[in-house]
Symmetry: C2
Subunit: 537 residues, 2 copies
Amino acid sequence: MTHLPSSPVTEIGEMHPTRWGDPAAATALPDSARGLVELAFGELASTPAHEPVAVPAPQIETALLDELRARVGAEHVLSDDATRRLRTRGKSTFDLLRARAGDLADAPDAVVRPGGHDDVEAVLAWATEHRVAVVPFGGGTSVTGGLAARRDGYAGVVSLDLVRMKRLLAVDPVSMTATLEPGLRGPEAEALLAEHGLTVGHFPQSFVHATIGGFAATRSSGQSSAGYGRFDALVVGLTAATPRGRLDLGTAPANAAGPDLRQLLLGSEGAFGVITSVTVRVRHVPETRVYDGWRWPSFAEGAAAMRALAQGGLLPTVVRLSDETETAINLARPDEIGGASAGGCLMITGYEGTPAAVASRRAAVTELFEGLGGASLGEEPGRAWVEGRFAAPYLRDSLLDVGVLVETLETATFWSNLDHLYTGVRTALESSLAAGSPAAPIVLCHISHVYETGCSLYFTVAAKEGEDPLAQWAAAKSAASDAMLAAGATITHHHAVGTDHKPWYAREIGDVGVGILRAVKAELDPAGVLNPGVLVP
Amino acid sequence: MTHLPSSPVTEIGEMHPTRWGDPAAATALPDSARGLVELAFGELASTPAHEPVAVPAPQIETALLDELRARVGAEHVLSDDATRRLRTRGKSTFDLLRARAGDLADAPDAVVRPGGHDDVEAVLAWATEHRVAVVPFGGGTSVTGGLAARRDGYAGVVSLDLVRMKRLLAVDPVSMTATLEPGLRGPEAEALLAEHGLTVGHFPQSFVHATIGGFAATRSSGQSSAGYGRFDALVVGLTAATPRGRLDLGTAPANAAGPDLRQLLLGSEGAFGVITSVTVRVRHVPETRVYDGWRWPSFAEGAAAMRALAQGGLLPTVVRLSDETETAINLARPDEIGGASAGGCLMITGYEGTPAAVASRRAAVTELFEGLGGASLGEEPGRAWVEGRFAAPYLRDSLLDVGVLVETLETATFWSNLDHLYTGVRTALESSLAAGSPAAPIVLCHISHVYETGCSLYFTVAAKEGEDPLAQWAAAKSAASDAMLAAGATITHHHAVGTDHKPWYAREIGDVGVGILRAVKAELDPAGVLNPGVLVP
């Protein structure tokens, strides 16, 4: 195992609470998309200018912060408005709408920046002693309310910002693992590993901003999950700081030594502890990458082809399928949204690896698809998807700017239940958003994560904003969530529970499951200071 | 999803507490093996005849059993000696030695046979009310003391025998899943699935006797794990009965809805609940099966070749590698144990699937191995391995009969730590067993489960029995377990914790990990009646 020096701390693209992404990268609504939504919803609102929103004054006693400063260093505890604003909530449409309406009530009272595991333990000891809520903060990309801690009964709320914990702690090129600190953003982790010719291979839409710790704490799944696996499948070890002390897990790739406690911390969203290092399986940086487009006569036929891939052991690195509406709107190609579409359903397949492995798998998939009725579209649609793959959240901002409510939600189920789930969620969204609205909503869907036994469904929704867009979307999301549960599916395939999904999550795991979570929470965090209100029903 | 009628209850090959397997299948020590051990250990003891061992009288009040009979039916509560004897302990060498010495002190006071989930809940309610220890019993093949519940403080101990819960509850040929009851033994589950052209693909050495529930509760891993995956990786859903009520898990192949609670029940060894159904991923019964032999100059070179397979995405269905000693003794070929060996290290590779997939993978592996210095031995060694794959435990009985102490133990680690672990455990076993013994022990090892990031190590040990074989083996196992922990490896890759591994398990997961287990145990089983003394340190 090679032990490595730390990388410099960098702060890139900090996101304002009213918008996604790097402020410098924000764009106006493309004309093609404007045409499309005007066709659907009529005249659009004019673009409002968003003033910087004021954050509430800190509500924590100064003496408490002074004590925290004494424990971790004064320069690592910040309480200025600008810093607190940038650590307020996440990036759900709920979050953006509230911020745009001037509501930053969830702003932390202070931001503390630990330099390593021991600092995190010191913060948790301080918080436990004084009953201060602690919200771990990585990239700030939560879309489920995972960064909005409960205030009542607490002496204050601090954001535990992992921005200083950005080291590649170790690389093991024999075992093909790497140990990373939680504050590394996706591109930072990839850059450090690339120096060793390695990659994690985890590329969710939030990749540019989200962090290693966040990927682990939320059970993230990336766009290349078919080839590299979900993030929880990549983790072979982790360390967490808890109010009870340090937890080190991962003595082997797999074992039979009791329950897999790694899988209890993965997805724990900062409510059981703060993940302070993650050891992941890595791969060699692929020599070759190729992405193809395919057209299927229908969503059902495209889904059946995906199932054939997964069950035949022929999965490419990337595979995603848009339904008829998403294909028609060309959402997979941001440069041509609303442009002409030849109908059917667009699928993107991507292959990464050695030239021989890529050629062999691509040939096998092509043979299978041609037999199943797929039409090859060549590499151009794949290239367009790759170029725009992280851009969709910027488009949401542009649409919100013109009075179009946009949000996404996702679920997963077994293959035999796919049609039922798809129809149920789509119908629930359409019915809810059509009620009391002058224009029918647009509901798009794609499949982007596939398994031998089932797959995910990812919906994108656009509707003309009504009087109260928060209530409008809350009703639609509630109806869609009810439909997921009614179909026996999960409330989330890759976005975690946060605060938004809790009522449905409680139904999904049942009373006995809720009891387990509460027991683990009470054991690890007896004062209840870790991200209170998140995850645990 | 197809709902299916139940299969008839069958009782096959019930094992006596002094021996492995079907009593009718027991054999005398083969001459080849006798020659080998005589060479190593000198003159052997004569074969003693084992009298049927008396079980202690039931210690539970009759009135309590009458109440249990009223809840689940009188005919399903048995307290005769013969039934209780067959549900006493498992099959570790410790267990066999104790039984051979006339000690069946862990015999349950009664055996209850629930017919389904509701019956199990009724038994747990009764046990909780009266503080009776409940030991779930599947195949009785535990080798870690998983069936020896603590008695102190309990009104009695009952064995919860799952022999009536043997239904294939559902098959979903679209999602490729099957829902099985826990009492199905390996061959019974495979026979029911074969009617649908399906297989689980889980073939541990205990396959003939062990059950679906046991595979789940102990995180079993089978001989075809490279191709089909560990049992915990096959489980997409499960139902458990707990004193708090019913737990239903598995709404999707994978999700981000909090921690994966399935992975908390898998490996819980009956201490958190009784698993009453398991939904597993299934595959089509392979059209073709081929097994090859390969010879490597050394264990290290063979292991490096396995690593190349795993990290190159080229794993066959089966891959196992014997070290120099195991190869020399020919343990992989029960018909030729002790026969001539050409030196080096024997590897078996097996390929299962469609003819095209088998041919393609076999060709790729052959090309890789030839480049790495492997020598092909053709199909004969593979065939011999397949024929003898479930036979080794019978050989242990024959050796115990002639005064040779035999046992196995196993661990796992990351590839970069493999040599260190191998040397550490081997040295610990040799040192411990050589002390005070007239003859050096024989220590063999193989790798039989491989991952991208690491692999398992499975040791087989033979030593001439001393005055007190229980103490002799306890010292050796303790030394080997210390060596595993000292090397940072796991106390068990596929045999669970039971009672035997608890001290090392506590060190492996640390105080915070132990706290989690205790909290979950207290929540789900507040009276502490579920398999007390097992798993939870």
